[in-house]
């Protein structure tokens, strides 16, 4: 009866989510309803729910999560400073002459933006508004142009410092200690947000590298799809100083933030604080900073931060009740009794997450699914960093995949109607291929994700 209610509850949550009321409240509301039904039927122990205030206060007092509002503030300030616009304009002239050069510039700007803001929606929209029209005007194949914008926009999830990796790192770290405690290891190893950042670096760069290889290959085989800039456009090139002026500040910020985390000098939270101030300085130097911009950035940060944390709160209520119905145990038993052992379990979890990625976004999956499945997988001996990176790239792929990938919705929202949706869909296909390739590479060579954190942190 309990298991049956757990399954029905999950299905009911999904059905209710589709109605379109905020996810955080739907998650919590529907599961509360089921807790009520369970209590009436005498199969749900309501005393479990008294753990709630402590859990909620745990969210407030968790020092790792403070990095979230700070990284968001940093991203918002960089966006207000119009860093992307400047970067794009100048990078274009740097690479613009050769076929494919513009595409490569867009890809690199996407990667730099990803590393500095980590906000996918914002990156896709910015690139879509600035880069896409330029590429189309230049005679780029719309398919390729759209695919490139989408793919480089999603890099924000995997290239550190990404907000998603902060949340995922936090969830994995509690799952990891839980898994070890359950195995009777009372001096558990830990996994930190910094570990995950480091683990993501090589896979992230590998993705960017392969994206670039694809663009270069296209430029070589069919240059007419990616024409270079004309002489007139090139004559309007800004000079070297201007290029350096736009490139250096954001690059310096990234190096400072990532470097201090990698070097073990600062925690991700401290680095995020310094990064936010650095972003404000960049905006100030560019003359884009005033009281109104600051207040506005603050309020935007509040909205995005509250959105993230209300999901966390809703998901806490959901998982408390799911556990009360024995759902955790059910998932545990199902995953650990699969034929083929660990590999099958991972494959199924990845597949489920990929499909969930069609309707839920990364934050929701991190808060809802990871706490349920991660302890089981970790108890099977899966490396937590490797698991985190696999989840991140898997979800990134999901967000690119038509027809539901939400990156595509963002881009569709800012693309001129002359570009058919089907072209958008076909344009991302090669990038999805690259994603799957990288996913397979990391699956076969876990060292791609685990080597760097091992070297840096021992």
């Amino acid at each position: 009866m309990m298991e049956f209610l757990a399954i029905v509850m999950v299905l009911a949550v999904f059905a209710a989510l589709l109605i379109g009321y905020p996810v955080a409240l739907t998650l919590a509301g529907v599961s509360l309803l089921f807790a009520g039904i369970g209590a009436l039927l005498g199969v749900f122990d309501t005393s479990l729910l008294s753990a709630l205030p402590n859990r909620l206060f745990g969210i407030i007092s968790n020092p790792t999560l403070v990095a979230v509002p700070l990284f968001i503030l940093m991203g918002v300030l960089l966006e207000r400073a119009k860093v992307a616009d400047d970067l794009l304009e100048n990078m274009t002239s740097l690479f613009g002459r050769r076929p494919g050069g513009l595409g490569i510039s867009v890809m690199l700007v996407g990667a730099i933006l990803a590393a500095s803001t980590g906000i996918v929606g914002a990156t896709v929209v910015t690139l879509g508004l600035i880069a896409l029209p330029v590429m189309l005007r230049r005679g780029y194949d719309p398919r390729l142009a759209c695919g490139t914008v989408c793919a480089s926009g999603t890099l924000g999830q995997i290239i550190p410092p990404s907000i998603i990796l902060v949340l995922l790192g936090d969830q994995l770290s509690s799952a990891y200690s839980q898994a070890q405690l359950a195995q009777g290891i009372f001096a558990p190893d830990t996994v930190s947000v910094g570990d995950l950042f480091m683990g993501a670096l090589i896979p992230g760069l590998l993705l960017v590298g392969l994206y670039l290889v694809y663009l270069l290959f296209t430029a070589w085989r069919s240059p007419e799809r990616v024409p270079g800039l004309s002489e007139v456009e090139l004559s309007e090139r800004p000079d070297a100083i201007k290029i350096a002026g736009s490139l250096l500040p954001p690059l310096a910020l990234i190096v400072a933030v990532l470097g201090s985390i990698m070097g073990g000098i600062a925690t991700p939270t401290e680095a995020a604080g310094v990064g936010a101030i650095g972003a404000a300085l960049i905006a100030a130097v560019k003359g884009k900073l005033n009281l109104r911009v600051l207040m506005d950035a603050g309020k935007t940060t509040v909205r995005m931060t509250s959105m993230v944390f209300l999901i966390f709160i809703g998901a806490s209520i959901f998982s408390l009740i799911f556990r009360g119905f024995g759902g955790d145990e059910m998932v545990h038993n199902a995953l650990s009794s699969l034929p083929g052992g660990t590999m099958t379990a991972i494959f199924i979890v990845m597949l489920v997450m990929f499909l969930l990625g069609f309707i839920l976004d990364f934050i929701e999956i991190t808060f809802v699914v990871v706490p349920i499945v991660a302890p089981v997988l970790l108890m099977m001996g899966v490396d937590p960093i490797w698991l985190g990176i696999m989840i991140a790239i898997n979800l990134q792929t999901s967000f690119l995949t038509p027809p539901f990938g939400f990156t595509l919705f963002y881009l569709r929202g800012v693309t001129p109607d002359t570009v058919a949706t089907s072209e958008l869909y076909r344009g991302v296909m090669p990038y999805i291929g690259i994603q799957l390739l990288v996913l397979a590479l990391i699956a076969y060579f876990p060292a791609l994700a685990t080597w760097l954190p091992g070297v840096l942190y021992g």
Binding site: G20, T26, P63, L70, T305, L310
Partner: protein, 184 residues
Amino acid sequence: MKQIIVIINGINEWIGRFVGILTLILAVVMLAIVVLRYGFSMSSVWLSESVMYLHGMIFMLGAAYTLKHNGHVRVDIFQRRYTQRQRAWVEIGGTVLLLWPVALFILVMSQPYVESAWRIMEGSREPGGIPFLYLLKTLLIIMPILLIIQGLAEVLRAIQVLQSPTPAVPDPNGEDSRHREDGF
């Protein structure tokens, strides 16, 4: 009815502006901590604990403000195609069946927890820490209250939409205005 909407919106808008400033202060405090630690090898329990207070206030007080600005993520596969009236019904149903019960639940569950913190005037466990842990814990009660009243404003707004005589056609600006503004 209009009056109530205006008052509630005003309250949460004001709170939004206030916690907006807190995010900026949070960044400055964080910088100060880093500079003190690495520049002067000093640390202050008070300063590092204030980070927790700022952080907690930002999202606990900001949740209702975010609701007002429709900043909480929705699954919008079907939402996109809703008419204004359908959206209004979703808001009413969602508030009454989901938001209010959830907020009330958090409120009721947290009340004894917060009360016991107040009874002992709970402070920091660290010597020299901020002695206001009981105030910080009170956020667990303030957040649901703010959500409940903002929910009321949303319901009243939705009722206004339903009462207005506009025909039930899809809202041309609906997609943008009801779409989440940022994503990850």
